[in-house]
């Protein structure tokens, strides 16, 4: 299945019917590689986690369930996703305004963005440890009870620590991705040290990528697209740089390509990223605008174009100047 476009990052929450199939964190220790963080020290401050993220476990109609919500407290909205465990189906919950204490009726969207069900949570409070309500089929109006208990809270507030896993908004990708993130009280910017990957059709755990030092960005920590044009979904994440004083900064992106069996870091793209921001005009093509490639007098920028000549091999094609 081609995944030619980058799956848009959601600023909403995530609800997942997923319990047994996605094991919890494995407790990987912090690697000494933290010391190496300065190698890609970046002037970019660590990006603020877009929205408070909460995960829940529970059930809908007796089916094991996991709930993750993102809260947009600027305008008072909640949204999310729903993953049906048996179907391996990750569904988006529509961004929905919510006033504290009012019932939350949040639409469940199909892959075309059309609501087909709603999750009605009575007396919804974003801070509640338990959420109860109903799943409502909008076509048949059939209802099933829903019950969730909160399991984790990822907050931008440095007064709170976290150490837990959260699913990623991987769209229609055939795999499910859970990252493990942690942050001690008083720190700014969460650290992602592990990615667990599951086959969506079977729920089977297929890969762990660990000893990572990535910047946490909630359910949008990983960004998905088919970079090399082989029809398989790939992803990238941003590294986390930690200096000697413990200051955290978001570093350059690191890329992982699917080789048919596993996701592997693809160093050539990371190397290009070090030259300048990458763009993927279409699957299989990469453009980089080198940081020193801007001529302000002539108002032109140099762009280097590369092409994947094989799924794991990239080739320089041409440079061109573009006005800006």
């Amino acid at each position: 299945m081609p995944h030619a476009r980058i799956i848009e990052r959601s600023t909403m929450g995530m609800i997942c019917l997923l319990k047994k199939r996605l094991p919890r964190s494995h407790g990987v220790p912090l690697v000494p590689a933290l010391l190496c963080a300065g190698l890609w020290f970046s002037p970019v401050p660590v990006r603020a986690q877009a929205n408070p993220t909460r995960t829940y476990e529970g059930n809908i109609g007796g089916r094991p369930a996991e709930l993750v919500t993102l809260e947009d407290y600027h305008i008072g909205c909640v949204s999310g996703y729903l993953l049906d465990e048996k179907a391996g189906r990750l569904m988006t919950l529509e961004e929905t305004p919510q006033k504290g204490g009012d019932p939350l009726v949040i639409d469940v969207l199909d892959k075309d963005g059309m609501p087909f069900a709603a999750l009605s949570l009575r007396s919804f409070s974003i801070d509640a440890g338990r959420l109860k309500g109903e799943w409502i089929d909008l076509h048949t109006r059939k209802r099933m009870p829903a019950d969730f208990r909160r399991t984790a809270f990822f907050t931008p507030d440095a007064d709170h620590a976290y150490d837990a896993g959260v699913l990623q908004a991987s769209g229609e990708a055939p795999f499910l991705f859970r990252i493990h993130a942690r942050r001690a009280k008083g720190e700014h910017g969460g650290l992602v040290d592990r990615i667990d990957i599951y086959d969506r059709s079977t729920g089977r755990h297929v890969q762990t990528i660990d000893h990572l030092i990535l910047s946490f960005n909630g359910t949008a920590t990983l960004t998905f697209a088919d970079f090399n044009g082989d029809g398989h979904i790939d992803f990238y994440a941003s590294r986390l740089a930690i200096d000697g004083n413990g200051e955290r900064r978001t570093g350059a992106r690191t890329y992982y390509l699917f080789d048919g069996k596993q996701f592997r870091n693809f160093a050539p793209l990371d190397a290009l990223e070090a030259k300048g921001a990458l763009a993927f005009p279409k699957p299989g093509w990469v453009e980089v605008q080198p940081m020193d490639g801007t001529d302000y007098d002539r108002r032109v920028q140099t762009w280097d174009r590369y092409r994947f000549v094989a799924s794991q091999r990239i080739k320089f094609e041409e440079s061109e100047e573009r006005p800006f």
Partner: protein, 204 residues
Amino acid sequence: MRLRYYIALAWTLPGWAAPAAASYAAYTGTIGTERVTLFLDDRNAIVRGVYFYDRYRTPIRLKPAATHSLEGGIDELDADGIPAARLRITFDAVAFNGSWTSYRTGRTLPIHLVRTAYSSYGAEPVPILQAASTDRYYFVIPSVATGDVRAIEVHDKSDGQLVRTLVPASPACDRGIDTVVVEKTHLRLSPGPGCAGATFTLEP
């Protein structure tokens, strides 16, 4: 893509407010072949709305939606507050076009609406249709030109005629389509900071 284009365009036009603005807009037009009247309240980046079929004049509440995500559509709610239909609308300065789709049946009807009144920050009078109604009456705030509610019009659902105008002793809070609360035999306007509440007895 067409929908996305129109919405992007709409943000650039004075006819539809930027997310931070407070605005009201009233529309008339059709869903399928039925005449409808629609009212939208956009404030603090949240859109609330209500409409009725002119034949019945029973307000139907729209599910609040984030202004920036209206491109996906807005729900019509049933009496229990559960989504019953989806309105997908393309915007331009003064008109809406789109579709209405029933979740229950899948039936889709075209929507054509023309704006009849618009107000940003209460600059112009716009009648505000109220979401609450009784079996016999629906309610309209005739103007919020000053930001306060100075009158409530009571209209008969059967013919739309103005039956009575209720005048609170002092201006009430403007709460958009939810200014009027119907409680069995009473109609209530909730008090708030700087504005008084009021209660009126509903005649049978």
